[in-house]
Amino acid sequence: MSVVEWETVVGLEVHCELETATKLFCGCRNAFGDEPNTNICPVCLGLPGSLPVLNRQAVEFAMRIGAALHCDVRPSIFHRKNYFYPDMPKDYQISQYDEPINVEGWLELPDGSRVGIERAHMEEDTGKTTHVGTSGRIHGADYALVDYNRAGVPLVEIVSKPDIRSAEQARAYVSELRAILLAVGVSDARMEEGSLRVDANVSVRHAGSDQYGTRCEVKNMNSLRSLGRAVDYEVARQVALLEAGERVVQETRHWDEDDGRTHSLRSKEEAFDYRYFPEPDLVPVAPSPDWVASVRAALPALPAERRVALASRAGVAPADVATVVSLGLDELVTSAIDAGADPRLALARAGNEVAADIERAPSLEAAAFARVLAMEGEGRLTATQSKQVLGELLASGGDPEEIARAHGFEAMGDDALVSVVDEVIVAHPAEADRLRGGESKLTGFFVGKVMAATAGKADGKAVTRLLRERLG
């Protein structure tokens, strides 16, 4: 039996909501989470007679994205994409079609691989439909409620080339793209809240083939995790079909987080004919070379560059600092290292504890962070205590020393610790003999006993050292 090797081919379409003050074509506030239908006007409601006027800031943000993705930023026009949908007030979407503002760029992942960018174009978001009914699904809903606050919110759609070869790489791509969008300050890029939406075009082919297989567009992944699961599922589904001698049908499929499968969304007769044509209510956008140059010049350091910088400062590999950089915590870590913190400890605390409360991370002062790391490094705080102090700093600020004192977190000095260690050794003579005999896994047993006896105030490293002195 011959074994065919299958290659995964993925291209991603990422919609990113821009954090402008107002919508793309009207002055309504662009705000997430407001009362439904309270940011509306004739333009974003598509009322008869209304006309769009383009938001300069949205164009600037789109150009920033293009520049950050190494795209050619070009003169562009808007088209109308015609199709009927209740959450689309005009029953057409104003989007960019064959003359988008950004084309032909690339993005480098932490592992050094590059994914090509085909285009990154501007378009308006639709309203949001809530289907109300017994089943809770689109089909079979009794009625629908539409919130037009989101209608007209500026989006940039970033379309990758089909360069992605695994679910893992797809996740890395979105994670990197997200880091870039945050770095250039155009979006909060949250998948869970829908300000970053990812659709995946997935196909498979025989390894080594230069032909693409039939692809399916998979929608409705609302986290990196579901993106990875959806791609893996879809690849397995397609491989199973092909190995059974069937064919893959080109279609849109909906990822269902609960059953972990993709489902066919539309029947064939609903194939779309969008009847694109140039939007006559808008004029071309042709950013001057000066404007493009000033946007490029004002770009902040991008994640790839920052990874290299932080990795060399911390003496680790660039891939080891990817999380910290993607969360924008590299400055925090660098200044802690500058203040004398152990680089690996700083990376670990930033990548875990600070990352866990990333909403509040901007309020964390670098000096306070460095202080906590120093206290931990000097053995004045145990790892557990250090994490707790950090958590409190993030939650309500303050002075690390005072927080530690208020909790009675003074790591025990050697004098106090020695007597506890000795008591524990006396209480467990058999285990002590075995450890003496070289059964080193029993170190953990004694550390645990000392920790229990000191209610966690002991520093694990100090206990290990004392045990080695006595039983080593």
Binding site: E35, T38, P89, D281
Partner: protein, 573 residues
């Protein structure tokens, strides 16, 4: 060059109807297949034209980078928007005598500004004329008695307080019913907008109000401005005040009739392919289609966005100039609005045409009736006697105007009219699901001409036909602009008849869309080129009905166009 597409089939029409979410009966399918086939066959001249190397024209004027600052405005009130339920039409009262009170807007405004006359008195008079005369004509869909009287009182209060109400103080005006008026039904003479009350005023409406004008009513029109006779109205046709058995022209027939009947000295209409000039000519009044972008389209319910312009009707050239000065000028709410200041018009009306070079456009004249051409010849003699140098000129691509127009306008309309889907406002016919609601609502809400154009336009944009139809028509548009530009290198102005015939009888062309379309042949090229044109009444045809002479000018050439119009008015029989 795109090849000649095959003839449209019944299946094509069924597919297009589905794309456009229009439920059609078998009978309709049969009829539409035949009619669309005939229209597309007529447009074959455009499809066959060699346009290799010609870029398409999407916008008639070379504008770019129109951007607004990222500064928030207030939201509309949610409850006001959600309360968009259908309401009954305001009543209108009728009696059979057309009014003949004709005081110019300029004279009225100056007497109101000086306190000589009260606006209330002027407006009451206009309302009385409408009340006694409009039953026979049906120029108005909706007469706004209370609103008009309240607005007139406000003008009078301003005068009493020593505040100048503006250049149109107390002047009663009528608005085509596709101009949004806050809180007042705006129907486009369509069932589908049944009861819709816009939450905002069109820019032109706001400017009229700011200038002291008093809106007395909304006028009848062909549904969504699609037509040339005002017969395609869901509320019944308007009649021509010069002969009630005849059409007033269209699509702004109600506004033309309201001015011709003397109800109001000034009315606004919209002109996409001649919808101001053609009815003005047929009713014997002045009508102006300004340069694309001179007047804001914000609040004009869109028909074909790249062609639509708002303009005035008036009994005199001076009143038309006065009204256009008030409504023209840059509007940040319209991306296609010209940024430069609008030209002064009233001040130049007496400047004459001495030394101007005028061309008579052969392609827009040859096919016209003999009596119409005879009036044009007299008009030319008038211009010559005033010192203009007149000669015949050819604008070859203008001959393709009609075909290009009937591909571009329906295509844009098919998209502009998608939003009438029963979801947010106007008519809704329930269905088992959303798709069924769309199809039923749109089938019940739109009249036959609107359906025809939506299908034609959907077809012209659909996969596989875009290049042969819409794309090709846009390239022909470029050729038309080039040919006009060439003509304007040697001429300051062009002239032609406004319409090939005088007003035709009601019902004469109702069943033959193509024959109806041909009445726009002289007017559509200006819309495609984005250039200004106006009609001035000039005598009568053999049937005793009005004839109009069209004056065409290069983009933003309104001042010189009005100078010639004033001379023609002075020489008219």
């Amino acid at each position: 060059m795109p090849g000649m597409p095959r003839r449209i089939s019944r299946d094509d029409v069924a597919h297009v109807a589905w794309l456009a979410r229009l439920d059609v009966t078998d009978d309709e399918l049969e009829r539409f297949t035949e009619q669309l086939g005939a229209i597309l066959e007529h447009a074959a001249d455009v499809a066959a034209l060699d346009t290799s190397g010609v870029p398409p024209t999407a916008h008639p004027l070379p504008l770019a980078n129109v951007l607004r600052d990222d500064v928030p405005h207030e939201s509309l009130d949610r409850d006001e928007v959600l309360a968009e339920a259908p309401t009954a039409e305001d009543g209108r009262s009728c009696s059979p005598h057309p009014g003949r009170g004709r005081v110019s807007a300029a004279a009225t405004a100056s007497s109101v500004r000086t306190g000589e006359r009260r606006a209330r008195e002027v407006v009451e008079e206009a309302l009385a004329l409408v009340e006694s005369g409009d039953g026979a004509l049906h120029a108005f869909n909706n007469v706004l008695i209370e609103e008009a009287l309240a607005a007139a009182d406000e003008v009078d209060r301003q005068v009493a307080a020593g505040v100048d109400p503006g250049p149109l103080a107390g002047v009663p005006v009528a608005l085509k019913d596709n101009l949004c008026t806050r809180g007042v039904a705006t129907t486009c003479s369509s069932r589908i907008l049944d009861g819709w009350r816009p939450p905002y005023d069109a820019t032109v409406v706001a400017r009229l109000r700011d200038a002291g004008a008093v809106v007395v009513g909304k006028t009848n029109m062909d549904e969504f401005a699609m037509g040339s006779s005002t017969e395609n109205s869901a509320f019944g046709p308007t009649r021509n005040p010069c002969d009630p058995s005849r059409v007033p022209g269209g699509s702004s027939g109600g506004s033309a009739a309201a001015v011709a009947a003397g109800f109001v000295p000034v009315a606004l209409g919209s002109d996409t392919g001649g919808s101001i000039r053609q009815p003005a000519a047929l009713c014997g009044v002045v009508g102006v289609k300004p340069t694309y972008g001179l007047v804001s389209r914000y609040g004009l319910v869109a028909f074909a966005s790249s062609l639509d312009q708002i303009g005035p009707f008036a009994a005199t050239v001076e009143d038309a100039a006065l009204a256009l000065e008030v409504i023209a000028g840059h509007d940040p709410c319209d991306s296609t609005s010209i940024a430069e200041p609008a030209p002064s018009l009233v001040a130049v009306l007496g400047d004459g045409v001495e030394g101007l070079r005028v061309g008579v456009v052969r392609e827009l004249t040859d096919g016209c009736d003999a009596d119409v051409r005879a009036r044009l010849a007299e008009a030319v003699a008038g211009l010559e006697s005033a010192g203009a140098k007149v000669e015949e000129v050819s604008v070859p691509a203008a001959a393709y105007g009609l075909s290009a127009y009937y591909l571009i306008a329906p295509a844009e309309a098919s998209s502009n009219l998608a939003r009438y889907d029963g979801v947010r406002y106007g008519l809704r016919v329930q269905g088992t699901d959303v798709a069924a609601m769309y199809g039923r609502t749109r089938a019940a809400g739109f009249g036959p001409e609107v359906k025809r154009r939506i299908m034609l336009g959907t077809y012209a944009l659909s996969a596989g036909y875009y290049d042969a139809y819409y794309g090709q028509a846009q390239r022909v548009r470029t050729l038309i602009i080039r040919d006009f530009d060439a003509a304007y290198r040697d001429h300051d102005l062009l002239v032609s008849p406004t319409t090939p015939t005088t007003a035709f009888p009601i019902g004469a062309k109702a069943d033959d869309p193509l024959a109806m379309y041909l009445s726009d042949v002289c007017t559509v090229p200006s819309n495609l080129a984005g250039q200004p044109a106006m009609t001035v009444p000039f005598g009568r045809g053999d049937d005793g009905l009005p004839v109009g002479v069209q004056v065409l000018a290069p983009a933003r050439g309104e001042a010189v166009m009005f100078r010639a119009a004033a001379v023609l008015e002075a020489h008219a029989p």
